[in-house]
Symmetry: C2
Subunit: 146 residues, 2 copies
Amino acid sequence: MADPTFSIGRLAQASGCKVPTIRYYEQVGLMPPPARTAGNQRVYTRHHAERLTFIRHARDLGFPLDDIRDLLGLTETPTASCAEADRIARRNLESVRHRIQRLKLLEAELERMTEHCECGTVDRCRVIEILSDHDKCLADDHPPAP
Amino acid sequence: MADPTFSIGRLAQASGCKVPTIRYYEQVGLMPPPARTAGNQRVYTRHHAERLTFIRHARDLGFPLDDIRDLLGLTETPTASCAEADRIARRNLESVRHRIQRLKLLEAELERMTEHCECGTVDRCRVIEILSDHDKCLADDHPPAP
DNA sequence: CTTGAAGCTATAGCGACTAGAGAATTTAGG
DNA sequence: CCTAAATTCTCTAGTCGCTATAGCTTCAAG
């Protein structure tokens, strides 16, 4: 009859979030303030668990909290167009692709550094050398704007 | 005879760092405090420019400031073994590779989301659906520890 | 009833900057 | 030489997404 309820610790276990993180999400308005026991401890419902799973999952996918806030807003009016959700997801996909591209450049550069290091003294170190001389670097562009 | 000197603005231009970033690096001990004019403005030398280029370059390659501090320390004793520099570079290479792996999972998941979105209403949105249901997600592992 | 785990609030810290206020200094042009 | 504009100065606070700590209260098991 009555839905099961959870303490913050159980909710943390169920969701994979840490306890302080859940309180943080409440503080910044991502999670609604739950009911409290007589002794002031938080009591969560299945609704909270679902919402937190959504948040956790979106975080795992790299969505910033502001985007998650927007997505959560959308889920509350299910008849709204999902074009906005699509736009948010595409934006994050773009950002992920940018980061991959950039990191691949760095990977190549770091490989070059470590492969040619013969581990003598610092004054002949390939790592130091490449870091010191900008011209010897391949990946010298700047990271994309957020 | 006298080496050329730079104002903080020129050093910023030359290095690609922003002015407040240079001051920040001084504050956290990465850049040595430069001489000052009679009017208290910073006066930089070629040494500073080289050091800042090193820092900037290492930052571009994803080295954390603490690692950069260590590397700068090494450059000051050129007869030291470069094994430590090599170790730092390899550690960062590892970290970059981890991040690439992780981001590729996210990319696949986000592609799956956006490709199947038919942009109707939110209650049938593929993006929202996947975010809501953990079982529908491929990339549900947790990011690697720093 | 006791004990230990789990919960509470509040504050501060992380990394690596960035932004803003308000005052002082420098530089270029007239 | 003087003024106006650009640059620089210090200081504080804010960003993001938590995490850690301190010092307390409440809850659940035995």
